[in-house]
């Protein structure tokens, strides 16, 4: 049963299993474990990014495609939900229409880009995706009548997702079940379901062909697998999942703008998360996304504490100042790539001697 849910793809290393279980349980119980808005915000963002990063791993880690257009599909999801909710009205019909439209647009766009450009060499494909994504970002900020331009769109969500909504008068384990908690669980379960679908895809006959293409596309073609078709389908599946992640973020934030979904900084973050977690492992997405988002949100606070503690020491206090957190994040990244070239998941699996 569990084997089928995980598509026969177990963590295969006990430290990894422990870490994954801790992340799963923490995310599943987040509304009851923490109080205040900030921790739940972080937890929701982790859920969204696990799905986003896992869908990117399908491309980068499993198929060997380098694309810079992934945040474009993320943005299509975000704007799909945002535009529907803002223009049609804050009800479930808008959410459904926005989600469906976003997934279709993302899928069709990925298919067109794929069929036209996946024949070219990898580096040119990466450049083409970069160009398309940049054009899309410019378009989104220029068409302010539809997208709200640089300001983005704020909108209301269906009533039971609003903070003021209460499922019941009482509390569960000391937590009031309000619209935010309900929204959180929609995000959590949708991300979990999406992740399990991706895990299934990479362990399907199709996913096996993707790995063969990554290894030796020339030979895969000679065996009778039309490589362009397989790559295109992989990029469609990846784009549709990224759009779903975008919808979830839009529901959670009740705001969608260029900085929440389309920015190149997010693309870089996604790339780092895949690489740090471990390319071609799926579970790496869980680890990479959790680690990076925790670092982005709490490293600053941690450094502030450390900086104050070292305030007497002249050089150290400057290095540990909260403003230097990006520097430390960069150092962490370089160290992790240097010491774990196969990512954290690869390292943990190698340590326990199984692959």
């Amino acid at each position: 049963m569990l084997g089928r849910i995980l598509s026969g793809d177990f963590p295969r290393a006990w430290p990894l299993m422990v870490v994954l279980l801790i992340i799963l349980l923490t995310l599943a119980l987040a509304p009851f474990l923490f109080s205040g808005a900030q921790p739940l915000n972080v937890a929701a963002k982790i859920c969204v990014f696990i799905l986003l990063v896992a869908s990117y791993d399908l491309l980068l880690g499993y198929t060997g495609i380098v694309s810079f257009a992934h945040t474009m599909f993320f943005g299509i999801g975000g704007y799909g939900a945002a535009i529907a909710l803002a223009r049609i009205g804050p009800d479930w019909g808008s959410v459904a229409i926005g989600t469906l439209a976003a997934m279709i647009v993302a899928g069709v766009l990925a298919l067109v880009i794929g069929l036209f450009s996946l024949r070219v060499r990898a580096i040119f494909f990466a450049m083409i995706t970069l160009a398309v994504a940049t054009a899309f970002a410019v378009l989104a900020s220029q068409l302010s009548g539809i997208t709200g331009g640089e300001d983005g769109l704020s909108y209301r969500v269906p009533e039971i997702l609003r903070p003021s909504f209460r499922l019941s008068e009482g509390t569960v384990l000391g937590t009031a079940i309000n619209g935010r908690v309900i929204t959180y669980y929609i995000v959590f379960f949708a991300a979990l379901a999406g992740f399990l679908v991706l895990l299934r895809i990479v362990n399907s006959p199709f996913g096996r062909v993707l790995q063969a293409i990554r290894e030796n596309d020339f030979r895969a073609e000679a065996l009778g697998y039309p490589v362009v078709v397989y790559r295109s389908i992989a990029s469609v599946a990846s784009a549709v999942m990224a759009a779903l992640a975008g919808v979830l973020l839009a529901l959670w934030l009740r705001y969608t703008g260029p900085d929440t979904t389309l920015s190149f900084a997010i693309m870089i973050d996604v790339l780092l998360m895949v690489v740090i977690g471990g390319m071609g492992t799926m579970y790496g997405a869980v680890i990479g996304a959790s680690l990076m988002i925790l670092a982005e949100n709490y490293l600053q606070a941690l450094m502030k504490g450390l900086g104050e503690a070292a305030s007497g020491v002249p050089f150290a206090s400057a290095l540990l100042s909260a403003d230097r957190w990006l520097l430390w994040l960069g150092i962490l990244f370089i160290l992790s790539v240097y010491f774990f070239p196969a990512g954290i998941v690869g390292k943990l699996r190698a340590l326990t001697g199984k692959r």
Partner: protein
Amino acid sequence: MNAAAPVLETRGLTIRFGGHVAVNDVSCAFLPGSLTAIVGPNGAGKTTYFNLISGQLPATAGQVLVKGEDVTRLPASARTRRGLGRAFQLTNLFPNLTVFENVRLAVQARAGAGLNLLTLWTDRLDLVHAAETILDRVRLNDKRNAIAGALPHGDQRKLEVALLIALEPDVFMFDEPTAGMSVDEVPTVLEIIAELKRDASKTILLVEHKMDVVRSLAERIIVLHNGALVADGPPAEVMASAIVREAYLGQELDDA
């Protein structure tokens, strides 16, 4: 289509690289159930001729026909699905996947089961078993969990042959299948080719340097030189032909 119609035919097949004509106007038909050896000195265009047939290179001029259908403009994968199977001279595997997975991928390609996104690969037990049978046949089953890229050269050659067998093509194209193999490994591969030859429906094209191998297996030899087809006939006849003997086979005949 009657039984004697060629399963594979090239008509005026030509490829130019800049000013160099690597394969020059080669017309040749291959009948079902035949084993044809393709010989010629290094650089004669044998492997290039194979690449044109199986679609790794686009022809400058001429046609490739499989069972009467013009496949000249089709990509390699489409030609494979129409029955052309190819083993490569320079070993060409999925180096970071296991031996078993290499073969299973070929079996899966043959079964046309690749476009299945939501089932588990382990659910296709028929493919798993077929792959195991083939590994037995090439005597690699004890190394099924080894990473293909880490195999010794001889085993990689066997795996290359295993991938070709797994495709169950109508036309088997072997490009120097025993090159670089140790003496005691060669018989395994030759036995497999001889076994395939006994199946009257299979057509075999064999690029081979070892003249004793050619003589024992082939019922027909074609000779390429500077990209052109210069001789075509039964082994005894081709080898006896003075022009072929002197100009194109050189020392190799005497060694055999």
